[in-house]
């Protein structure tokens, strides 16, 4: 049974985006529904980050529609973590409470959720440290915890491990997997195929601003439908 106030599925039709007259995305149509993580993969410059920003409402499409379901305001039901975490010049704990305060939650609720989020990402012991003194991996975990504290129905992750070492990547992936298991819909971009294999429920292959394929991960990684995807999986240079 689907909860009546869900904002999923998300229906994208004919989505296009151009910057300074240069098309970055065109004719992108797909549907994202609740379930295991949807991983958007593709080479650098394929338009992955722009696609996430369009879905999250940070950019305005130049063509097409982004349609959320249900009657609920989709805005507070989604969160996003960026490639380079933007941490406020405050303590770790205050970074976690800030978005909750902006969302209008009571102080008690803010603290309860923030502490739980720091526990989830393993930063409870560092709650009083200046957030910007954390290591790169800790910063990204804080950004994830901060987004999770908003209890989003859908969480957009833009290359969250792009600048992290293997250990930090593993820690971040573990958190993502836990959030996904707990029912948060993950939509994540990556150009790291191994990571995509580890996390993906379904794969969306983006190439030169076009969506070439959307298929269950099991099928995509063994039997891709397009030659471009096959070449990308084989490690060939595609652009």
């Amino acid at each position: 049974m689907r909860a009546p106030d869900t904002i999923l599925p998300l229906t994208i039709e004919g989505l296009g985006f151009a910057r300074d007259g240069q098309p970055i995305l065109s004719g992108v149509s797909f549907i994202i529904d609740a379930g295991p993580p949807s991983i958007i993969i593709g080479p650098n410059g394929a338009g992955k980050s722009v696609l996430l920003r369009l879905l999250h409402g940070l950019l305005v499409p130049s063509a097409g529609t982004i349609q959320w379901s249900g009657i609920a305001d989709p805005r507070p039901r989604q969160a996003m973590v960026f490639q380079r975490p933007v941490l406020l010049r405050r303590s770790v704990l205050a970074n976690a409470t800030c978005p909750l305060a902006l969302a209008g939650l009571s102080r008690a609720e803010q603290l309860a959720r923030a502490h739980a989020a720091l526990e989830l990402v393993g930063l409870a012991a560092l709650a009083d440290r200046p957030a910007r003194s954390l290591s790169g991996g800790e910063q990204q975990r804080l950004a994830l915890g901060r987004a999770a504290a908003l209890r989003p129905e859908i969480l957009f992750l833009d290359e969250p491990c792009a600048s992290l070492d293997p250990a930090a990547t593993q820690a971040v992936e573990a958190i993502i997997a836990r959030l996904a298991t707990a029912g948060t819909k993950i939509v994540m971009t990556t150009h790291d195929l191994a990571q995509a294999r580890r996390l993906a429920g379904e794969a969306l292959f983006l190439h030169r601003g076009r969506l070439l394929e959307q298929s269950p991960a099991a099928r995509f990684f063994t039997d891709p439908a397009t030659s471009e995807a096959a070449a990308f999986l084989a490690g060939a240079l595609v652009w």
Partner: protein, 234 residues
């Protein structure tokens, strides 16, 4: 040379004995400048923050004008406030001319643009960094202002101290609108100017030493704050 030495000795005596005349002048100076900074802070910080997060036609001109006003000569500021507050001026019925309130008014006018311009500079760089993340949290430019002000707290305290330094050290504006009336509107800078021209060097020197000590203290505080700011800015 002996005169100078004698003057320094007498000045030190005035400070050590906490001479009531010196004390009164110092207290009024602090009172006027602190009040002026408080008023200018309310206007300057909000104006600077709004300017940092908004984009509108003519914004560049406003920024240039604010930056130019940072160099507003105190005597010109004093003259303008004098015209405003004089009997026949638009605010003449308030009867503020030659009162401490007029001096606070003039110093606030003098430093509000400085606070606004420096606040704009500090917060604009923060906004460039934060804008996308704060929009993701559902906060547009106006709701982001309190967040930016809080994150800039250490840098902005330095800005306020710079404003206080400017206010407490200026002489032209308070001289014109205060009138340097003994025991009423006489502050450190105007007293130094007057006593020097009268030849009462010990009093002028004593006040000069106190003024230097205050400016030094403010700068030491600003330096300490900057260390704290880097700790949090990471």
């Amino acid at each position: 040379m002996n005169d100078v030495n004698a003057a320094f000795a007498a000045a030190a005596g005035l400070i050590v004995d906490a001479d009531p005349a010196v004390l009164g002048i110092v207290m009024l100076s602090l009172q006027v400048s602190v009040c002026a900074v408080a008023i200018a802070a309310v206007i300057g910080l909000s104006l600077g923050a709004l300017l940092a997060v908004t984009r509108f036609p003519g914004r560049g001109a406003v920024v240039v004008a604010l930056n130019a006003l940072m160099g507003l000569p105190p005597v010109v500021c004093g003259l303008l406030v004098y015209l405003l507050l004089s009997r026949s001026g638009p605010l003449g019925q308030w009867g503020l001319l030659f009162t401490p309130s007029a001096m606070i008014f003039a110093q606030a006018v003098l430093i509000a643009p400085i606070l606004a311009a420096l606040t704009r500079q500090v917060l604009e760089s923060y906004w460039e960094e934060y804008a996308e993340q704060l929009r993701s949290f559902g906060a547009g430019p106006c709701r982001a202002v309190p967040t930016l002000l809080w994150d800039g707290r250490f840098a902005l305290l330095t800005v306020l101290l710079a404003g206080f330094g400017r206010a407490s050290a200026e002489v032209g504006a308070v001289m014109i609108v205060g009138g340097n009336i003994e025991g009423y509107t006489r502050v450190m800078t105007t007293a130094i100017a007057l006593e020097t021209s009268k030849g009462d060097l010990p009093l002028a020197l004593a006040l000069g030493i106190v003024l230097m000590a205050i400016v030094l203290g403010v700068n030491a505080a600003a330096h300490a704050l900057r260390g704290n700011a880097t700790r949090w800015a990471g």
